[in-house]
């Protein structure tokens, strides 16, 4: 019987998703040639932040240099990308478009201000 219980536990463990903590703040960011709206985002130190990234035109990218976040934002009408992170230390952190989108691509950037 004990073995049967373990087997049930094993089967249950295989289908289980990791529990997701509810973010402290969910912030929507819209990408459009050649801007993120909003482009300046203020958060509090220690918060778990979730960015919901959508595009109003073509595919864009969302990259935070140095911390390994670099995701594609699907073009308008094709969904969203969600990025979660913890604002661990105070400071100003840049994010940028990582998919070439036209003449203003290099300056399609924004800032996360952790206070």
């Amino acid at each position: 019987m004990r073995l049967f219980s373990i087997v049930l536990l094993c089967v249950g463990a295989v289908g289980q998703e990791p529990a997701a903590r509810k973010p402290d703040r969910v912030i929507s960011i819209v990408a459009e040639r050649f801007t993120f709206s909003p482009s300046k985002i203020e958060v509090k130190q220690g918060e778990l932040i979730e960015f919901v990234l959508t595009s109003d035109d073509t595919d864009h990218g969302f990259r935070i240099p140095g911390i390994g976040i670099d995701v594609a934002i699907p073009q308008s009408g094709k969904g969203e990308a969600r990025v979660r992170f913890v604002a661990k230390e105070k400071g100003s952190y840049a994010f940028e478009c990582s998919r070439p989108c036209g003449a203003g691509h290099n300056l399609m950037r924004g800032r996360i201000i952790v206070k």
Binding site: V7, L9, V14, S37, K40, T58, R109
Partner: protein, 458 residues
Amino acid sequence: MVNMICRCLLTVLLILPPAYAQNVIDLERRVSELEAKMRLVDPAFGRDSRASDLVARLEMLEKKLGEVLAAKKTEAQPSPAEATAASQPAQPPGQGLVPVSVSGDYQTSTGGETRLPVAGYMDFHLNKDSGDPFRPDFHRFVLLFGHSFSDRIKFWSELEVEHALVEGGEETGEVALEQAYLDFLIKPAFNIRAGMMLVPFGIVNERHEPPSFNGVERPFVETVIIPTTWRELGFGFTGDLGKGFRYRAYLTSSLDASRFNAEAGITEGRTAGFDSSFRNPAKMVRLEYAGMRRLTLGTSLYSGHAGFNTPGVNPRVTMAGFDGRYNYRRFDVRGLFANTWVSQAGELNRRLEQQFGVNPNVARQMRGYYLEPGVHVLPRRTRNDVILFTRYEKYNTQHRMPLGYLPLPQFNRSSWITGVTYKPNGDVAIKFDYVWNRNASQVVGAINGINLGIGWWF
């Protein structure tokens, strides 16, 4: 191999209850086989274990299976489900942002698509003026290349072939370097740009990818009054001032007044980086506001002397423009106003008449504006997009004349353009429009036209 082991283990786990009632020896043999397969994935598995009973061995397999599945999920990121923090690359110590997860449609939307190391756009047109046959024209074939030397130094370029064919000495097409500049990113509010740059004036000059505007051809005002695609050599400063305000301020090579004329205004005076002059660099600045969702407002100012090819006359060209774009639900609207002043226009006309034998009849003021409402007729949830639009344009390259010169009324023009843009994909636009052209002349008639086009961005 991982998949196979997972499948096998799952199968065994599922059938274990009935198997428990069966031969225990057979069960032990199958668990041993699974352990052997697991050792193919991790040779160290079970090496230090002395567990003899089936329960302990199953618990070890369970634990290892969990590790393998977690590692596999991290590597492949196959679903839009959340990836754990373990999926992120190793973090440098002391960093201020700690990634937790990435999820959403970002994988499913791009899965299976081909991503090239360059970007670009193409534009194929079929134009027909009334009374003429259709003329096919592969108008633009443009490739864009970018490179990041670092997070603070970035390169961007755009190389264009127009009208498909370029032959020496014949006006069949052109190969043009539209952009090639370096951005030095210093602070959000202050960055430096240098090279061949697009002049930030109007809507289309900087965002001219075919799916980003309605109509097969670019607006007349942004062709005749604002000489799109307008690019000059120079350097300048750009930045984000916060609260939605951005600016660009450049010093650029100047226009060449010797090529101004009555019909195209200052358009032919673009030097496009060839044989240009930096003796009196032009100054230009654009301020944009994009702080409210779906609204973009911009104003541009340009001023520069243009007389480096007209000895004795050095006219100053000043341009001011206002533009805006807004969309609300399924409705779009965009509009633009631009005015150009040319100082010493009378002296310039006399000088050019002496040089070339023909009076170009350059005006001292040129003006144009347009308004374009559009509606997306399909609901937002549909995969395709169909936009019906109408654009009214008024553009007069003879708006105010210098003393002693009369305006040529055929260049006081207006146009109605109405049509449809069909987007089977957000980056592909199939366009149709009809153009009613009018002018103020009693003698020279305006020609209407039909345009078909397909343009795409990648």
